[in-house]
Symmetry: C2
Subunit: 734 residues, 2 copies
């Protein structure tokens, strides 16, 4: 046949063609979770902002804007703005140092010391909360309401900014009754988004690798994007969630992108300048081969003095230009990227080389643990990609410098809808870790399918690597000491934002971005509560209809959407039954004979990957007790992971009481029914929410239903043809 | 995972990346089947060329070149050259009209009438052969050897050119003893190659769609290729095989290519000028939407006067520029191409529109019957792509103008290694037909696998659509009347040539191009005899080693290579178990759930597509007896087509005595063994044949073996996992 490959993909169900028609740069990006309405409670008040510094200027500018829009009043005391922020917002000029704000105030946002607190702060409002007199740190804040005055205090400007957005979330409640003093501090010191954005359009991966929201907001066609307002708006949205670090280019570093480190550093500095007022530090993905491809050295051997000197000097230049530069992100010896293995060195040698260059400037290296053999022979069942990260890195525990952060994907394979939590997290007590999530929906519907991922992330964060009642993954990242002292770590995610009008292609995918930031600040939050926050901010009380309708509908659509996606795509822990090109839509055998790994080994008798120590790849042995025993046993293994760990007959009875094959049929029929219900529920919001938002979501739910039916029919047909077992309920299988 | 799609393909076995490194334009293209040595027998003789005309000039120039290289002598009589051909070859200036050539001659190549034959022609040499005094026509010739003089006579210049290459094939035998007079005429009047070459590089299909030999020899990056010597060499090679027509652009006509018909017509005229001296007429693929996209009309409705006028005027301009222009090739209402269906008209309306514009200029329309629904639902087993051409066109028999040639692929689907012959051939007695073959190896190894296709084509040409002893497909194309008068037709093939040094990527793929031309001239030729011709011409007696070794080796490598390819890829008539991207390498379920058609329906019990009238799609009913009965019956159906027509249990016993499943295992193991043997045999020619040729072939045989093993293991594993039937011989299946 003679149609272009892309046309074949479109014919095969990939929506790539339609995406083009509905995304792309838009002069008026959607307000997302910071529409003007949510600043009304604050903007109708009399506010005093006290303190100096760039981020205090940002706070002041936000309050000025809010009051300008809603009739409130804002004053500023202590050191005046260190930038021209206030005047340009046309508010009253700040008073000279020490002079009190005029009249009574409803809200004080104040930086503690070096300046005395303004008299407007009621007596006692500055007292530490009962049982919590610890330092607030660089980003923490104290909030309280006493004698009708709401007070936010911080010891550093960033704290005041986070305190401001805390009030925005609280809304009117922030100004009602008294509120006991409470200290707020981020559980994780670094809350980071990795953008897989290419500066130059890649012939295969495009402008944004695994990007489903149009082009890049950072880069366009080989250079800076240029939409500076859009970038400020992005920084502001992220600050409201708590994100404080961004890597601005793809971990697969191509030729043009490599040069961001050197002769294109100004482009990075410009982004840093735009994001700095929002408390966000810029990081850069670098190629380990930089000393060769950029420095002209004959080697990139991490133990070679010339190489070390090159990195030292190059890094010095970076910090001379960007004093608060965050650090380097490195994908090494993975999927074709260069690394220390080329020179017979290991990952610790490689990571410590860059760490050394960064340490003196306060920077960190994020070194990805996503290392595996993507040239494996599908015939060899002993090779197990799930083992790779542990096998490569666990032996290196203790050898990484303090400013190396080993970045581990949440599962042992690759962002599948359902995986066990990576065993690496329990295996490296002496190593600073980052858990890598994927906000961009590579394997979860590519922002054409509504799939709220916070419940998945919470399951990961709440997982107890050593079993109950030991620490959770969240505890580990927060640095809660266990039997051994523990270094705190980061939460990182691959971003889902592009130059699409709705930021994420799918307006409901904004909830994933919001939830990531919030869970990175407080990994113990309830995903449903986070969704409530997002709903209240993104869909302020509708002008028509029942105000509860929007909230109920969005919960009905999103609360269970991840499990719904799992139902029609990935039964019982089987992954990668996906079209190998683009990872959208079904391809049951897509990877079964692939060098990228094999994931179900389905035959006429059974299905699943035997990863046991007894008869399989031994992957279960990478877990400490009790999981090493639980996962080893087909009887004790949780249903949702059974086929990830075991190859069982189709007639195997699950804890749920149904057989594996019937579970496959049931969940796929149920998944499609649920998508249909999601679509119907959303339909009822026509005329209630913004027309543009409603149309875009409706369009995507139509496609989700079409695609879910395709998943259902292909997977059910595949397993019916193989097993020969009819559906117990006699539904149509082809 | 995050590697580019192309890298995934490379990892999956596609050799596209390697192709780039081994093809591409080369200043000294390979001589193929016209190396200087093969002109020695002719070039050492005393030759007289008699006659005038452009193609006689070509003959004269060939003889001059031969004699210059090998010491012979050439004279020319009768009207002098109508071009400056002779002087530029540095031969003796032609004598004035009527003056006899000096001294005795060994060979006379003479055009009969209007001029008297030269006295050098021995008495009786001009007599018609016994029992054959029919006209020689535009391309026929008479050859004989009397009294030590070899004589070739023709009534038209093209005949003399074909006579010359006939002598080249004969070699010394043409000058030995006496040879009775014999008339040679092409069985088919049009012997045509379709180039699927794009003028502008297509984002998905590249410069040449389904091209596996580098870039296009006609076009480069949006304009003419510019290598005029290469094009002359190509015309010369084709003339030596008998090809007399070429379509110079892709049947999928994109924007740039559409304009070849109008403002870029000069580019086509230039190609016509280059190919005319070799008796080759140029044809053009046009888009049915041309009146809209080029003419600015609101419609392309074939019954609209404005549309007809536009085609008339456009065609008049074409002939004003290219008087011997061949005609139009059209892919309409197929795979997204526009056509008459848009306006509620049928294919006869569309084809006759263009035929009308061409008729007065002597041009023809090749209208492709490759029309089917490529948006079908895989769930619906009643839809059968194999039925499509017959269903669309059979009802239109008798409605096509005399200068419409309906171009039918040899099989009902799409160039698979094994298909039944298309039922359309028997179904349209009142329609002029062309059978379309595919020299380019889209589904037969893409010129990385050695696959001599002449045996496949001969099976098609020897097939008797009405059963023995009725006419063969070759008879039908040759216009042999049956119960009804029959219009003669054409043999057409999709070309396999690019700007690769070896023309075809794989030097042995040259044999396919050569064989196509020869079979188009004489469809009754034996493929093995054609291969002998090609071997003797391409590999003249080696300087070292046993002269028989090359011939024996090439027969060992090529004679059975098509069936070998079939063995490791397409058992029992199953097609399309191929990677949907690129069609190279295995993908057993690649099309099983595809909108492009479903081809095996394998389940745990059996495999095959039920195309019977009794229980299947009814495709067997498109054949006349006896095939309608033979194919309907699983007992009578030939083994090699069983799964094309029937869905049978794995345990079904073939005529060969083995079960279907065991046949699948046996043929796949055997196929790989045969490729290994081909590789070993070729190895023995190291140092015997040209080093460049040997290296290129050796490189490709290595890849063929790797790929054949992949086919074997994936297909055997797939069917073993489904059927559960172990290999009777206990060989390794994964």
């Amino acid at each position: 046949m003679s149609l272009p490959v892309t046309a074949q993909h479109a014919a095969a169900g990939g929506p790539a063609d339609e995406t083009a028609s509905t995304t792309g740069a838009d002069p008026t990006p959607h307000a997302a979770w910071l529409p003007p309405e949510v600043f009304r409670p604050l903007g109708t008040r009399r506010v005093l902002v006290h303190g100096a510094g760039l981020l205090v200027d940002t706070v002041f500018a936000e309050v000025v804007r809010a009051c300008a829009g809603h009739g409130g009043r804002v004053d500023r005391s202590a050191a005046g703005p260190s930038s021209a922020a206030a005047p340009e917002h046309g508010a009253a000029p700040p008073r000279p140092e020490g002079e009190p704000a005029a009249g009574p105030v409803d809200l004080v946002l104040a930086l503690r010391g070096p300046h005395p607190l303004p008299p407007a702060v009621p007596p006692g409002a500055a007292a530490a909360p009962a049982g919590d007199d610890g330092p607030l740190g660089d980003e923490g804040f104290l909030s309280t309401r006493v004698d009708g005055v709401t007070v936010v205090l911080a010891d550093a400007p960033a704290g005041l900014l986070y305190g401001l957005f805390h009030l925005v979330r609280l809304g009117e409640a922030a100004f009602t009754g008294d509120r006991p003093a409470r200290a707020h501090r981020p559980a994780l010191r670094r809350r980071m988004l990795d953008h897989w954005d290419n500066v130059a359009v890649h012939p295969d991966m495009g402008q944004v690798e695994r990007g489903y929201a149009g082009g890049s907001i950072f880069w366009h066609d080989g250079g800076p994007n240029g939409d500076r307002d859009r970038l400020r708006a992005y920084g502001r949205l992220l600050a409201a969630t708590g994100v404080n670090a961004i890597s601005v280019n793809n971990v697969n570093v191509h030729a043009t992108e490599a040069r961001l480190l050197t002769d294109r550093l100004d482009d990075v500095a410009d982004l840093a300048d735009l994001l700095r007022p929002y408390g966000i530090r810029v990081h850069l993905s670098v190629t380990f081969a930089a000393p060769v491809v950029l420095g002209g050295l004959p080697t990139a051997d991490p133990l070679d003095d010339r190489v070390r000197d090159w990195w030292d000097e190059t890094t010095r230049r970076v910090y001379a230009r960007i004093p608060d530069f965050g650090g380097y992100l490195v994908k090494a010896d993975s999927e074709g990227q260069p690394g220390p293995a080329t020179y017979g060195r290991d990952h610790a040698d490689g990571a410590n080389l860059l760490a050394g260059a960064l340490a003196r400037h306060g920077g960190v290296v994020h070194w990805r643990a996503f290392v595996y053999d993507h040239r494996r022979d599908w015939r060899d069942r002993s090779i197990d990609r799930a083992r790779a990260a542990y096998d490569h890195f666990a032996p290196l525990d203790g050898r990484f410098a303090d400013n190396v952060v080993l970045q581990v994907k949440y599962g042992p394979v690759d962002f599948q809808p359902r995986e066990p939590v990576s065993p690496v997290i329990a295996a490296m007590p002496a190593t600073r870790l980052a858990v890598e999530l994927q906000v961009t929906q590579e394997y979860t519907g590519q922002q054409w399918h509504a799939c709220y991922l916070a419940p998945l992330w919470s399951e990961v964060l709440d997982f107890r690597p050593w079993g109950p009642p030991e620490r959770t993954v969240a505890d580990v990242l927060a640095g809660v000491p266990g039997p051994e002292p523990r270094r705190d770590g980061d939460l990182v995610a691959v971003a889902n934002v592009g130059d699409d009008r709705f930021w994420c292609g799918h307006p409901l995918a904004q909830a994933n971005l919001y939830a990531f930031g919030r869970l990175a600040w407080d990994p113990y939050l309830d995903p449903a509560a986070v969704l409530d926050e997002w709903i209240d901010l993104t869909f302020p009380a509708p002008t028509v209809g029942d105000p509860a309708l929007v909230r109920e509908t969005l919960h009905a659509v999103l609360d269970d959407s991840w499990r719904t996606y799992e139902r029609y795509t990935a039964p019982l822990g089987v992954g990668f039954m996906v079209d190998p090109d683009g990872h959208y839509g079904p391809g049951v055998d897509g990877y079964e004979y692939s060098r990228w790994g094999t994931y179900h080994y389905a035959d006429r008798d059974g299905v699943g990957v035997d990863r046991t120590r007894a008869t399989g790849t031994g992957f279960t042995g990478q877990y400490p007790p009790p999981w090493s025993q639980v996962y080893e046993s087909p009887e004790r293994c949780p249903d949702e992971l059974l086929l990830f760990f075991h190859h069982v007959p189709y007639g195997h009875v699950l804890h749920s009481g149904v057989t594996v094959i019937q579970h496959i049929y049931d969940t796929h029929f149920a998944g499609v029914e649920q998508v249909g219900a999601m679509r119907d529920r959303w339909g009822r919001l026509a005329g209630v929410v913004d027309q543009g938002v409603h149309d875009r979501v409706a369009e995507r739910l139509d496609e989700q239903l079409r695609c879910a039916i395709e998943w259902r029919d292909q997977i059910n047909t595949y397993f019916f043809r193989k097993s020969g077992v009819p559906d117990a309920r006699g539904r149509r299988i082809y």
